[in-house]
Symmetry: C2
Subunit: 257 residues, 2 copies
């Protein structure tokens, strides 16, 4: 049995609490014995009050401490922990493992997914990226990871940084392109829902084929008439700039083949 304490009360922390609680029901491997939250009320919809503390000195002994707070706060929180030589992991995609204070054993437990408040996720499908300084610690957090997810990866700090940048492209930037599509629809009295099947198919296509293999559109066809006509159509300078740069990037990439 691995006793786990979670530190944090935000979006990711809440999703992790639910995932660990689900794992507790079906599995005897882990137990969430306590959660630290600055404001107890933020978690009372998920946990009994006696499992929540807002006092660092009241944090119990455990096998694993998972810090799920914002990147800015991770170092400070890890410094405030009133114990040493325990296993403390953070959950950030951006920060190095070394962001954690030296007094404890360090690790990273990074679930690669986008979390929305009040939107349930199936944690089983979320890849969890693990990093530790030694094999014993790896085995312990791997055990915890496996109770809540089907896919566990060993990813070092440099790889995790790359992964986080890649995630910004495929998630944050992609969502912004959806937003631009929505803006263009609104401006022309077209319901955005009309684009939904295309958006879903675009995402599903690359489950089996590489994005390079399935690239379509005027840029890769080098269809100069359509490109010129679409550029002229866009009156929003920001949209026009993005159109030009992504078209150019697709064409440069095509040429390299």
């Amino acid at each position: 049995m691995v006793n786990v304490i979670l530190i944090g009360s935000g979006n990711l922390a809440q999703h992790l609490i639910v995932a660990i609680q689900n794992a507790e029901k079906s599995d005897n491997t882990i137990r969430l014995i306590q959660v630290f939250a600055r404001q107890k009320e933020s978690l009372t919809h998920l946990l009994d009050t006696d499992k929540i503390t807002s006092d660092f000195t009241k944090i119990k002994e455990a096998d694993l401490y998972i810090i799920a707070v914002s990147d800015d706060a991770i170092t400070a929180v890890s410094t405030q922990l009133p114990f040493k030589n325990c296993l403390v992991v953070h959950t950030s995609g951006t920060l190095n493992m070394d962001a954690l204070d030296n007094k404890n054993r360090k690790g990273v437990f990074y679930p690669l997914q986008t979390f929305t408040k009040n939107k349930p996720v199936d944690f089983k499908t979320i890849p969890i990226c693990l990093e530790t300084t030694n094999n014993n610690d790896h085995e312990l957090i791997e055990k915890v990871g496996q109770t809540i997810s089907n896919t566990i990866y060993k990813i070092d700090s440099q790889q995790r940084k790359a992964l986080h940048v890649a995630a910004v492209f495929v998630n944050n930037f992609t969502n912004h392109l959806y937003h631009i599509g929505n803006e263009i629809c609104n401006k022309n009295q077209i319901p955005f829902t009309i684009l939904q099947p295309l958006i879903q198919e675009t995402a599903q296509k690359i489950l089996n084929l590489s994005p390079q293999q399935v690239q379509t559109g005027p840029a890769i066809r080098n269809d100069q008439n359509t490109i010129a006509s679409q550029e002229a159509f866009l009156t929003n300078e920001n949209q026009k700039k993005i159109y030009k740069i992504l078209t150019q990037s697709i064409q440069n990439n095509g040429k390299k083949l």
Copy 2:
């Protein structure tokens, strides 16, 4: 019973043939009586040879002629048709209805989806955008559209142009961002599959919420440390340029709220 003749043998033409054949089985509304293809062999895996002609003068009489050829060829094909006053539609997202020759009644029958050769699609889920010059013709192609799809929209040429530009953003450009994510993974020995759940969730999130509502990431949080660190991480100048412009665009958009 609406008798339909399809002109074309490419990707979209083949998907349309399959969709109409499926509709024929379950519905007595439409019948594909002939297909024109310059090279008969390109369609013999889908149709009996006697249903295919490569001779314009042998094209039969029908209620509806659907031209599913590349944009460049639409005008020429519509001019070569050896009859007049019939209903002829094209299937292009880009071209105006007027690209069709004046000797026949004109219309547009544009299925908004990305088609990959040899990858079956469920045509029922594909929105079809219709345009005609009169109500009778609209009713006819609406009837045809409804036999192969669950969602039919009346979209004029200007709206269709907007829709096609929006589709370039949410499909072609999004796929290119997937490709950049793939490149970053490859360079750092990370399997691209690790990003798949994130990509699928990003697409599914906007089924119920607007892209603006679910925008996350360093740009919208104005997390300058992460932005600076990710920009520095990107050594590929093209990727760096795209990173900067999309970050800027997300931030400008956030400010407008």
